[in-house]
Amino acid sequence: MSRYLLRRLVFALVTLGAVVTVTFFLVRLAPGGPFDGERRLPPEVEANLRAAYDLDQPLLVQYGRYVANLASGDLGPSFRQKDFSVNELIGMGLPISVGVGLAALSLALALGVAGGTFAALSQDGPRDRLLVLGATLGLALPPIVVAPVLVLVFAVSLGWFPAGGYATAKHFVLPAITLALPYAAAFMRLTRGSVVEVLNRPHVMTARAKGLGRFRLVSRHVLPSALLPVVSFLGPAAAALLAGSMVVEEIFSLPGLGRYFVQGALNRDYTLVTGAVVVYAALVLGFNLLVDLCYARLDPRIRHA
């Protein structure tokens, strides 16, 4: 098992390295630079600025320095937001993004697994039909549709939750629901399909024949093997969640990582963009490693390989 995890770790690090490299060169090769503004700077000033940020060095030297700094956890100074380092900016945005993301993922997982199991247990019955239809509907409701409607109903009309901001836990309810909805639907379909399949396996039939109660049957014999595909979908789901989180941060005015990323890209703030991508990628890859770990615990074939 440790060899399996070691391999995954190396794979993740290599991927992260590739992401850093591609992003680094991509933003620097793009037209436009961080010091382009409405008014052209005097050449001497611009030269000094470029020198201050190492931009006068050959690209490869810049890259080497960036990677060396990165290895010690330093993402460099922000080019556009003076007096802020990228670490500070990301340090402000990250907790908000991670908070919303984790809340949404947990909610989606809870709703999806519960709904999918219920649907599978009454396969093809009216309850099943209703849940499946609900899931298809959930997939058709991306955050950009759901968020405004939720705000209109629960913030403007009913006044139950605030429409934006991040002061209290209440502020995170609507963003988390918005973000969770399509993934709850996806998890539900996955769970339903795999529970239906596992229910017909011999070991479940044996357990049922021995008179095991429904709850124990499902929790001890069905779910552990039925959840494998769900667990392996967690990784890609976390990556896809990012796209939604950017939209959600925009709609609910949450100053999360997504905002810094979009802002940085628009301003050609090289270090901020690269830093945001690195942190995003590290988060997703780290989460994937965690998923692999869970997978190995759940699946004895991997544990003993």
């Binding site: 794979f11 991927t15 997939l139 549709v145 890609p236 990012l242 796209a243 990323f261 979009v262 995003y280």
Partner: protein
């Protein structure tokens, strides 16, 4: 295929809805008396009325005309991006499946690695850095949505490569590229294209995300994402501005998902030799 598309009342309704959406998008400019960017000074920010069936936006542009024009661009981008994903995904999957061995492992490892990446970041970087034009948008979206297709095509190729006709071609001395091009791909292209339609809703969602953030389609052009972003800004005072594009997007996605599921089931159930 026919059964999947027309087998149940729900499927028939979804087919009809999609057909309607596509026809309305194509015929949009002739259906509505207003141009999508024409300003009606007498009806600025007006609720749905006899003159403007779906109301007008904050500068007096007809929302029916705008939603239909938006549909045009959203659907066109989705189709073009799906085509791009086919151009990458089908050769990738077919090569990996046919060549096998180390090459297969390496190629599928790349796919696995890419799955774990937050791709939308790359698309955003590309469109922000290299100009926000529609061509770049669909190429970028297509370039990141070929992964599922590559996996499916690889699976199909694995099944096809042991068929007698492939063996016959090999025995006659046809090289690997020739076999792939003349024998494998033509035989798996049908199911591959059906699977490719499953990418369409994802691309529509991605495009609407980007346009919503102001990173995709730009004024004066419009798409569902742009319209929803505009509508969301005004929803407290003029909810109809949000209602038209949001409903159309949701209904289209729903119909695509329902039909996509049925197509997938129909393909999966076919016995494999």
């Amino acid at each position: 295929m026919r059964e999947a598309l027309l087998g149940t009342p729900l499927a028939r309704v979804c087919c009809a809805v999609l057909l309607l959406v596509v026809l309305a998008a194509i015929a949009g400019p002739w259906l509505s008396p207003w141009d999508f960017d024409a300003v009606d000074w007498d009806a600025i920010d007006s609720a749905p009325s006899a003159a403007h069936w779906l109301g007008t936006d904050g500068v007096g542009r007809d929302l029916l005309a705008r939603t239909l024009t938006g549909a045009r661009l959203s659907i066109a981008i989705a189709l073009a991006a799906t085509l791009v994903s086919c151009v990458i995904g089908i050769p990738w999957g077919a090569t990996a499946g046919y060549v096998g061995g180390m090459a297969d492992m390496a190629m599928m490892r790349v796919v696995d690695g890419l799955y774990a990446l937050p791709f939308i970041l790359l698309v955003i970087l590309l469109v922000v850095l290299f100009g926000r034009n529609v061509v770049l948008l669909f190429i970028a979206l297509g370039a990141v949505s070929w992964l599922d297709l590559a996996r499916i095509v690889r699976g199909q190729t694995l099944a096809a490569k042991n068929e007698a006709y492939v063996e016959a071609a090999r025995a006659m001395g046809v090289g690997t590229p020739g076999i792939l091009k003349r024998h494998i791909v033509p035989n798996i292209i049908g199911p591959a294209l059906v699977y490719a339609t499953l990418t369409v809703p994802g691309v529509i969602i991605a495009e609407s995300f980007l346009s919503f953030l102001g990173l995709g389609v730009q004024e004066p052009q419009t798409s569902w994402g742009v319209l929803i972003a505009d509508g969301a800004r005004e929803m407290r005072t003029s909810p109809w501005q949000l209602a038209a594009p949001a409903t159309m997007l949701a209904v289209t996605l729903f119909a695509l998902n329902v039909l996509g599921d049925r197509l997938r089931d129909a393909l999966d159930r076919r016995p494999r030799s």
